[in-house]
């Protein structure tokens, strides 16, 4: 049961104003409750909430390294099970820790079938170290290691489809969510924690600093990502997509134009070809998940 008034992340942490991630952490803890052990990978979440010797978490929390969060989590889970204790183990990692650095530990933990929940907060680059590209950075986004300029439009590769990889491990529950739809996100995390076995939830969390938008636009951009079809909110049970958030789709440029990381697509000249490629990604998503709401009238 989601307890809306429970507050397990103290205010006064060091997240930027308008941080999507801080909200993700708050909502996640509301959904998980007090009976939990959080294992955190290195990343923004770890850095802003726990400058030693202080912490903003009111639940047991452990951090080891960038790459081994899933390994530490599975060890804790095995120990708790041996002792007959009932605490849940929730592992949190950023997209860098999940998509690139930590994937072998995650793969191992999922293959061994530990009763854990892995939550990836996806802000689409290594934000904590200064906006370097990761496996989750979308096509054509400008980052400090994939800068847009005369010879480049930014990142040359599309986003890695990690939910499909996790589902291929035989995970009983894989979901994607966004902080712009908080009730939906809390429900998904609650379900992931309640499901036995290794579950994976990927949470889209816009980053005001890294993506380049005003701090009050966090939720608007989260909603636009879903409405443009570039982010798909879905649930997968035993590898089958069971529920998809359907939308009346907007053109992708409405989403792209709000952010500084895509500014080179509009200024000084509009890059129609590149925008069409990104639109094609959204169209592919729409076709794969049948995103579009069918019109009623004939």
């Amino acid at each position: 049961m989601v307890e809306r008034d429970i507050e397990l992340l103290e205010c006064g942490h060091r997240a930027c104003a308008g941080c999507g991630l801080a909200m993700a952490a708050r909502l996640m803890l509301k959904a998980v409750g007090k009976d939990v052990i959080i294992v955190s990978a290195t990343g923004c979440m770890e850095v802003f909430s726990t400058p030693y010797p202080e912490t903003a978490w009111k639940v047991p929390w452990i951090h080891s390294l960038f790459e081994n969060a899933a390994g530490v989590g599975s060890g804790i889970e095995a120990s708790l099970r041996r002792q007959g204790r009932s605490e849940k183990v929730v592992i949190i990692g950023g997209d860098g820790a999940t998509f690139d650095i930590g994937i072998q530990c995650i793969s191992g933990a999922f293959e061994r079938g530990h009763d854990i929940t892995y939550i990836c907060y996806d802000n689409e680059a290594y934000m904590n170290t200064g906006i370097q590209r990761s496996g989750a950075t979308p096509y054509d986004a400008s980052t400090t290691t994939s800068p847009a300029g005369k010879h480049s439009f930014g990142n040359t590769r599309p986003k890695k489809d990690l939910p499909a990889i996790m589902a291929a491990h035989g995970s009983p529950y894989v979901a994607t969510a966004t902080i712009a739809f908080p009730m939906d996100m809390m429900k998904k995390i609650e379900r992931a924690v309640a499901t036995k076995g290794p579950c994976y939830v990927q949470v889209h969390s816009p980053c005001a600093t890294g993506w380049g938008f005003e701090s009050d636009q966090t939720m608007t951009i989260g909603k636009l990502a879903v409405e443009s079809g570039l982010w798909v909110n879905f649930e997968m049970v035993n590898g089958e997509v069971t529920r998809v958030k359907k939308v009346v789709r907007k053109p992708v440029e409405e989403y792209l134009i709000t952010q500084k990381r895509f500014r080179h697509l509009f200024r000084p000249v509009r890059q129609e070809e590149e925008i069409a490629k990104i639109q094609a990604y959204a169209d592919r998503n729409a076709e794969k998940f049948s995103l579009d709401i069918k019109q009623q009238k004939k």
């Binding site: 103290e10 205010c11 308008g18």
Partner: protein, 83 residues
């Protein structure tokens, strides 16, 4: 100072990283006449700085403006802080 710790263990403190309210450029002001107490601002605040009776804790509010942007009644206005 407390005695030397053997392990790197942190303890939760309210406002662990100081009074982040000093970061603020714009201050949220709630118009009680327009507010219908839907609670969306409480849900959306990344700081958890809005209490259940819709009072903003200005010691910790960073002034991001999400509450003003998401308020369906437009009851929250961001006003520039005095110098």
């Amino acid at each position: 100072m407390t005695k030397k710790r053997r392990l790197a263990v942190s303890e939760p403190v309210e406002g662990a990283s100081g009074k982040t309210g000093s970061w603020r450029t714009y201050r949220p002001e709630v118009d009680r006449g327009k507010c219908n107490e839907c609670g969306l601002c409480i849900l959306y605040c990344p700081e958890a700085a809005i209490s259940e009776d819709h009072e903003v804790d200005l010691r910790y509010c960073k002034g991001c403006g999400i509450c003003a942007n998401e308020c369906p009644k437009k009851a929250i206005v961001m006003k520039r802080e005095e110098q």
